[in-house]
Symmetry: C2
Subunit: 505 residues, 2 copies
């Protein structure tokens, strides 16, 4: 019952196949936009709730700002508009009118409106109104919203014209406080990525040429996908006084002098679901880490003869009620009792493709034995994949079981990443030879043909051309620098900066 294609044969097709077979999302009549289906959206709700809790713990409040940004507003920060101008949805009219039997746009707006690709400019306008004195600082807000960037090659979750995200925006009295905030939120991203999404990441700073348009510094978390490519999974920007100057966010400081505020912004998006898929899914479909699974346990009644129905259903209902009282990760576990009018085999494969962490099949003989067949998604196809369990044992240990699965999923992904950050490539020749290979699927526990290289860079902007010609990228300048001098892997010059080179999504 494997998917139509697999990771080794055709990785990009496999990805689409997982999204579709796990019933997570689909393309839409709205060009380049996606429909996020209930299973995909359920994962997003979990991710959102986990981040939201972290944001609130770190004293941020949610707010909501308009989706439309007047063109003139967007233009205030020169680098910023430059960075986004080529991919903006522009609203120019406010009604439709019939003309020759066809509806056409009518009532042209005095000023075109941009559908927000990000909200720095419009939020800065509110900040300028809200902030007067150092006593008003810091301002710490976040918004959960949809944004639009006119991508030319859309891919579900990874790159769609509309996507869902959160964007944090803060203003501070000093550069240091703003930089601390930027790094604090990056650390929240790392922690949630690793601890909840079971997705190991490399943390660091973006090179100058790859910063967010208008930022002083951009920090990021980068995750290694199963084909060795990197996915930028979250970014946090120190904006200095750039946006404060263009929007006039000033405050009276403690010395009673007017000063521009220091701002930050940071975001993660539904792209994380793409990362989740390419970190954990296998040739049978999706595998969802328990912490973000909409249902952690699915109960599938196995009823082949109508006369067994009452017996099985009353037993399954009893298990369902007992499971509802159990907890994992400090909260109630999420269980689905699948009563739909379909065969148990169809249900099993459907939940397997969706990647529910544990599926329990329960038939008449299980009732007699007070047992069930437990199938952990991560053990599918292995001898332990079909496990006969006593119901009490299963119910009593479900929290522990889900925690073990979560831990195991992270450990697997971390081992893959660790084995595939190459640090033994020391010269431009070795470097070129390495990236001359094509990316392909990295088998669990193995070293792939191409993935990440950690090595030296001379830090010069000109080297961007060399990277472009090789179709690779400097993903980040990791925080943990050795400080040692070596050879720049692009030019052979002396260099001390350690960077992560990789291909990327």
């Amino acid at each position: 019952m494997a998917l139509k294609t697999n990771r080794k044969t055709n990785y990009p097709e496999w990805y689409q196949c997982v999204v579709s077979e796990a019933d997570m999302a689909e393309t839409s009549v709205s060009p380049g936009c996606m429909v996020i289906k209930p299973w995909g959206y359920g994962i997003w709700e979990r991710i959102r709730d986990i981040f939201d809790e972290r944001f609130k713990e770190t004293d941020h409040e949610n707010a909501y700002f308009p989706i439309f940004i007047p063109l003139s507003f967007f233009q205030k920060e020169a680098e910023h508009v430059e960075g986004f101008a080529k991919e903006m949805a522009v609203v120019t009219h406010s009604r439709l009118t019939a003309k020759d039997g066809k509806l056409v746009p009518d009532s042209e707006l005095d000023e075109p409106l941009i559908v927000r690709p990000t909200s720095e400019t419009i939020i800065a306008d509110s900040f300028a109104k809200w902030i007067h004195s150092y006593r008003d600082l810091p301002v710490l807000v976040n918004q959960w919203a949809n944004v639009v960037r006119w991508e030319m090659r859309p891919r579900l979750f990874l790159r769609t014209r509309e996507f869902l995200w959160q964007e944090g925006h803060t203003a501070h009295a000093t550069a240091k406080e703003a930089e601390d905030e930027t790094k604090q939120m990056l650390e929240v991203y790392r922690e949630v990525a690793e601890e909840s999404l079971a997705m190991p990441v490399v943390v660091g700073r973006k090179p100058e040429y790859d910063k967010f348009p208008g930022a002083i510094d951009t920090y990021c978390i980068e995750a290694m996908m199963q084909d060795g490519k990197s996915l930028q999974a979250g970014t946090s920007h120190f904006l200095g006084q750039n946006f404060a100057k263009s929007a006039n966010i000033t405050f009276i400081n403690k010395d009673n002098k007017p000063e521009f505020a220091y701002t930050t912004s940071w975001g993660v998006s539904t792209r994380l679901i793409g990362g989740l898929i390419m970190t954990h899914a296998d040739d049978e479909g999706m595998v969802v880490p328990p912490k973000v699974a909409p249902y952690q346990v699915v109960l599938v009644p196995v009823i082949k003869k109508p006369e067994d129905e009452d017996k099985v259903m009353s037993f399954v209902n009893e298990i369902y009620q007992k499971l509802r009282a159990q907890t994992a990760f400090g909260e109630k576990i999420r269980i689905k009792l699948d009563k739909r009018n379909k065969t148990s085999v169809d249900k099993f494969w459907e939940w397997t493709r969706k990647g529910a962490p544990a599926i329990c099949e329960i038939g008449p003989r299980d009732v007699d034995n007070n047992g069930m067949m437990v199938r952990e998604r991560i053990k599918l196809g292995t001898p332990e994949g079909k496990e006969i369990a006593k119901t009490e044992d299963f119910i009593g240990t479900i929290g522990q079981r889900l925690e073990t699965i979560q831990h195991e999923m992270f450990a697997r992904a971390k081992a893959r990443q660790d084995a595939n950050i190459r640090t033994d490539i020391k010269t431009p020749e070795e470097f070129k030879a390495y990236f001359a290979n094509n990316n392909e699927w990295i088998e669990d526990g193995k070293q792939g043909k191409v993935a990440f290289v950690r090595g030296k860079w001379n830090g010069k902007a000109e080297t961007e051309e060399i990277l472009k010609s090789m179709k690779i990228n400097i993903r980040c300048i990791p925080f943990d620098q050795s400080g040692a001098t070596g050879k720049c892997l692009l030019t052979g010059e002396d260099a001390t900066l350690d960077v992560i080179y990789a291909r990327a999504y």
Copy 2:
């Protein structure tokens, strides 16, 4: 410390004043759109979570559909496009280009895209893909999203060009199931409005001429504001097979025959916050019902001499920790310890204007007496408004106290509504005389000059003209019909239908 204006003097200005002084929302550089500030958004988050739980209990799943609807798609249902064409934001270009030193829209789209005013048409397209057999039905989805309607006279929360809402969309195998769903969700709306928002409503069906464009029947909840006007607070539509036909949502029924599905849609929006304000706010500012208050209890330390700080803060912190363990309405209570660098008097008035249900002021003498000054927002200005409480008593009874406040707020609003649905107006003459008055603020426990009239209607479309000329409206045909014959209040003809006549927002 009353607001700049009050309900009696200038009701519309008072409304704006509450929104602004309670720090709930503000107008924006984006014309007609609003910024929902943290306190307003916090209320929305509570409302959202309460509804979301009810939707999930009634087996709905959340999903997300594109914000852009291709023009041709929107046109598929004739009445529907007719109803919305005059207020649509239209995207016509996908980038900006510099021209004579100015950025202008570029890359015109082949087909204009509509920013969704509602999503029936685009969701119907997905339903057509998802539904094949009666076994696939019902499909029960909901989405939390922003929508855009090009309002010409925007008012914060009540009517803004962009607003936040939920829209439920379902498909069923029979008309009966779809009608049951429509009414079930209306009942969810009534229940949450009354039990969580403490906002009494009248439930019923809209007259034919006031239905949702494309619907067979529209049901609604209508709430009486403090000026006697009605606010449509939620609607639920039975769409019959109209959208199924235009989008080709067909299924093979149990008799193995193809059939069009029956669909529904239903929504509530951030407009509810406008309803909340005009149900509960007073001349001092907002009053938030405890169930939807972002903070139910605010602790304000009163420190006038620096040497008192340690003493007071350690006492307040202790109270804070003990309160955190308390519950109200079955969940942990939400407390704010306001440590900001402002005077306690400023803090008290700020939280009063925001409408936090209970504010506790704690100074050095309270520490000595193991007490606090408790101020319930609904008792502000009354002799009970300043209450000295022992800390243990306050902590031990906080759940009960919040429940009492919630109950009291509903009782007050319900008494106002009950006293102001006039049933004693029996002739067109009396009716005209009544609505010849202007709406004005209805004092608690009193009968206002103009509010709702419950009386007869002949059900004829022509009477819409009479209503228009009087600037009133039939808000709904309540479910509880007397069946008795009387005189139509518009024409004097015999009529049996009971309706609610009122002015409206």
